[in-house]
Amino acid sequence: MNARALRIFAVFFKRFLIALVRTRFGLMGIAQKRAIRAVQLRLAFEELGPAFIKLGQLISLRPDMVPAAYVFEMESLRDAVPAMPYEAIASVIEHDFAQSPDELFDDFERVPIGSASIAQVHRAHLREPYTTVFGEVLQAGTPLAIKVVRPGTLETIEKDLVIVERFARRLDRIPALERFNIPLIVDELSASLQSECDLRIEGRISDAFAFNFRDWGHVSTAPMLWPYISRNVLTMGFVEGYHLTEAAAAEAAGVDARFLALHGAEVFMRQVLELGRFHADLHQSNLIMTPDNRICYIDFGIIGNVAVEHREAITQVLVATVYGDAKRAIKYSADLGLVIAPPRQAIVEQKVADLMARTLGATPKDIRGFAIGFLGIMNEERVSVPRGFGLLIKALVVVEGCAQMVYPDIDVTEAAKPYATKLVARQMMNPARIYQRLPAALDAFLEELVG
């Protein structure tokens, strides 16, 4: 075992011992035990750096595989690390462009405005005018945000991945952990890290997002400046505005923060239900309310995908959920691979209906409580939750969290209703669907008419 593997082992062992003591050597109830263990696991990830922080972020996207307590604890994973010195960042820019930051940009600031485990962000100004892919002309002097991958990050991650893969193979042999499919999570981690370390991919996704929302006047992204983008450097326009926690300041400046928070729910639904690709790393630093009354999405490092064949069922489940219709939600969940054994169907429906009444029927609605409760019911009933479904539930909770960060009383399900209803109506009026369902509908009609 090399030094890094030893350190990883030591950190996990330390956190395991702390969890053991805090759970009174396992004597606490299962929910409390899980909550305590989840906190210790998150702290271990934070201690071990980028590959593990990423692993935690991936776990937070897999409510289908990991208990809800871990999924939601990983949301609070802090990815803030001390900044790297300017010289190290300058060497990355010089390596990719054969020019120093001061030759490429004006006023490149030595102190970063943000620093995370994979990259850090510096401010600068544009030296020459540039026309973006959308034809917008950015004049010389335009403020920029330059994201630079921290040198040595990829190498560290690759070394950690080798160790993590080894651990994963061993853990997979333990029968109790088999259902978590740890090697699969590690494979996803590897693919996700490779893609996150190539900032050109993030630039392309950001531009595609901007294109998809070109007709939505209240949505924007930071403009990409492609001549200054490489694998390790992403240069974009600096977005001035207010974070979600600064709603009062935003409103004082004339921004309709409440409208934008509600609009965010529709934007999210369109991403999931129509485009099939969504920003899966929504938190207050990645959303900016701009003075021209738009909500600007930045940092497309983690993206979720929804398969075309699942979109209709997801729409139906979502509509059933916002209208509190448990039976319909379960019916369409089956199309997403959520299989409930027939003898348990009625019981599960009743449990879900009770949960809906308790969480979504209350004022204010508690989507987070619904999500945790729903995943808990599925766990109790030993029903495996398909990936797309789990991700959707998780994302809905995040959207609610973002909206409520602006206004705690906001009800995103109310905002979601008109859009979701329209979408279902459009799906129902699809000629192909009518053609497909007509014979069954006629049968049912005749059955009803003639008995």
């Binding site: 054969a98 973006t132 892919v133 990409m224 492609w226 001549p227 008109p418 209803t421």
Partner: protein, 114 residues
């Protein structure tokens, strides 16, 4: 019992009355739906139907204005063409962006090689 001309006329009158009543009902539902505020649609089946009627009315008006434009291609076809053109324009522009990025990388490599 034989069906007389009068019976047939009465049937048509009843049919027309049903339509008129339904039409008036729909108009009233649209008006009520227009006045609803966010969240009111879930106040019961009646409120839901009113809200839905108002939403459908908006789409109907859009469709009417599209159909009344004699210059326009069939709405769906026109929309498809415009969307395709926009997507293609974006893809070309995105390609231009990627070429700019590659060109910068190539320039850097050339500078280092010299």
């Amino acid at each position: 019992m034989a069906l007389t001309n009068d019976d047939f006329m009465k049937f048509l009158a009843a049919w027309q009355l049903v339509h008129e009543t339904a039409d008036e009902g729909l108009k009233a539902a649209i008006a009520r739906g227009d006045e609803q505020s966010t969240g009111e649609m879930s106040m019961g089946p009646g409120a839901f139907v009113d809200g839905l009627a108002a939403q459908v009315e908006v789409l109907k008006e859009e469709l009417k204005s599209e159909l009344s434009d004699p210059q326009a291609l069939p709405a769906e076809q026109n929309e498809d063409l415009t969307a395709q053109l926009e997507r293609l324009t974006f893809e070309v522009a995105a390609l231009r962006g990627q070429l700019e990025s590659m060109s910068a990388t190539l320039d850097a490599l050339a500078t280092k090689a010299l």
